[in-house]
Amino acid sequence: MQPTLRVNTFRQSLILSGLFVLGLLAVNLIVFKPGTMAVVTLSGLYQGMLFFLIAAGMSIVFGLLDVLNLAQGAFFMLGAYAGFAIYGALPAGTPIEARFIAALVGATLTGGLAGALMEIGLLRPLYARPVYQIVMTLGLSTALNEVVRAIYGPAGLVPIEEPPLLATTFTIAGGQFETYRVFIIAVGAALMVGISLLLQRTRLGIIIRAGVQDSEMVQALGINVRRIFTLVFALGTAVAALGGMTAAPFLGAYPGMGTDFLLVAIIVIVIGGMSSYEGTAIASLLVGLTRATAEQISLQYFNTPILASVSILLFMVAVLLIRPNGLFGRD
């Protein structure tokens, strides 16, 4: 006796995703020189991982709590600013490596703590009121942008200094690529695997997967679902803040930096199939690769990066035409 049905639809989703990847690689092969292609692929993975760090928490929270957290981008920004604050607060002689690690840890904790406070203080009264949630999460996001603008000014902060080890570039097939962006890819990949193991192998993961379907029954089994909601929400915002801090040496920090990423993250979640974790992970990378490819084509032939954002929307339309519920969506 072997379970087959679910495995088959899952496999179809995987095959479809694989076809999209092959299509993108084919376009790359035809249009670019090998060096450019390598850089575009790495750049796509780099962008995709940043999208993933924002979208992962959003999609799990959406599945479990039925809340689309439109403030998730603000937590990304919060992470970057927390990183700057920690860099500045450490005593003068602290080595860059120590500052960097302290900033990563501190930003993650800040994001998690702020997320927990938001869930307990602002979101709890609004469960089962979707419109209020949209207004609240969007309003909180705007408010955080303004707070940051008021404290640090509208111009944004220059990028954080990277540890010397990562502040190098390397050559791949004749193309130049920054080591730091590979570090971002590695952080994203580690979290992708880590979250997957959390969902599949731990008791918390079982509770999350069950709660997505029927949180009332989970509660009737003796599990304090409220506490799980807070924990999961906080984990999601912590990962987004870690993403913001990880990106800070590259992007700097500026008011509204999360908003651009938020929009892409929502598209990623839709393409992946709303509450599917696998879908979100794979869609992040697909969107990153699509965007990087379109950006390079656009620069190469039209001298403007304009196609980059358009390409994501076109990609979403293409996926939804084939799969109205997204790559890994159910029903």
Partner: protein
């Protein structure tokens, strides 16, 4: 000795609707008590009120002498009450094994209970790694009851276990439920009167949100007039 579960004159509202208007039920520590009544009488709502899923506005629920008033459902469950809802609530994306693991309240609950569970429901052992969503209706019902047996529960609330099952499956289910009664008390909602009458020692009849009659099952069976009065379809 007082009963394991005492439900005293509870009133429950869902939204502005006054659904339960005085339900009183007692369940002894061993044996099965059947909750009888026509469709829409308030049987499911009574179970949900006990679990705290629809907390009663008035009246009292006591489990093992403790008042359940003001406790959250997870807290009530942790006292030792297992709930098997009418829709079974099997987690479709979880394997049978995970559906059982999630019910653990202490590490090792499942390991300690799996031999008993597989003895009562041998099918579940074969299906252990299957996704819950691929089980048949009867298998899902077995899993729902098994899940309530994983932690050390002293009371099970079982809602319509025979609903939608083939007669031969129902026989197996009845045998299984009967086997549990030396370990737990059972409050059983069952529309199939043949099933209810063969399983239960006591019964309570609910009509329009009120408990109107209670007694011992053999007395009910001996009285066509009572059956006619409370349970005929009209």
């Amino acid at each position: 000795m007082s009963a394991l579960l005492e439900v005293q004159d509870i009133h429950t509202f869902i939204g502005q609707f006054h659904i339960l208007e005085g339900v009183t039920v007692e369940v002894p520590a061993n044996g099965i008590t059947a909750l009888l009544g026509r469709n829409g009488a308030g049987k499911t709502t009574t179970l949900r009120s006990i679990m705290g899923l629809n907390p009663p506005a008035r009246g009292a629920v006591r489990f093992d002498g403790q008042a359940l008033h003001g406790r959250k459902p997870f807290d009530i469950a942790q006292l030792g009450i297992g709930y098997v809802p009418d829709y079974r609530a099997i987690f479709r994306q979880l394997t049978v094994a995970e559906n059982l693991q999630i019910a653990e309240r202490r590490r090792g609950d499942l390991a300690a209970r799996s031999a008993f569970i597989f003895e009562v429901f041998p099918d579940l052992e074969k299906l252990y790694q299957w996704p819950g969503g691929q089980l048949s209706g009867g298998q899902q019902q077995m899993l729902a009851i098994a899940r309530a047996l994983v932690p050390h529960n002293r009371l099970l609330l079982i809602d319509e276990p025979s609903e939608g099952l083939a007669p031969v499956i129902i026989e197996g289910m009845m045998a299984a439920i009967r086997r549990l009664t030396d370990q737990v008390g059972v409050l059983l909602v069952e529309q199939n009167f043949r099933v209810a009458s063969q399983l239960a020692d006591h019964y309570v009849v609910i009509e329009d949100g009120k408990s109107v009659h209670t007694g011992r099952m053999p007395d009910l069976l001996a009285s066509p007039a009572l059956i006619q009065k409370y349970l005929s379809a009209a």
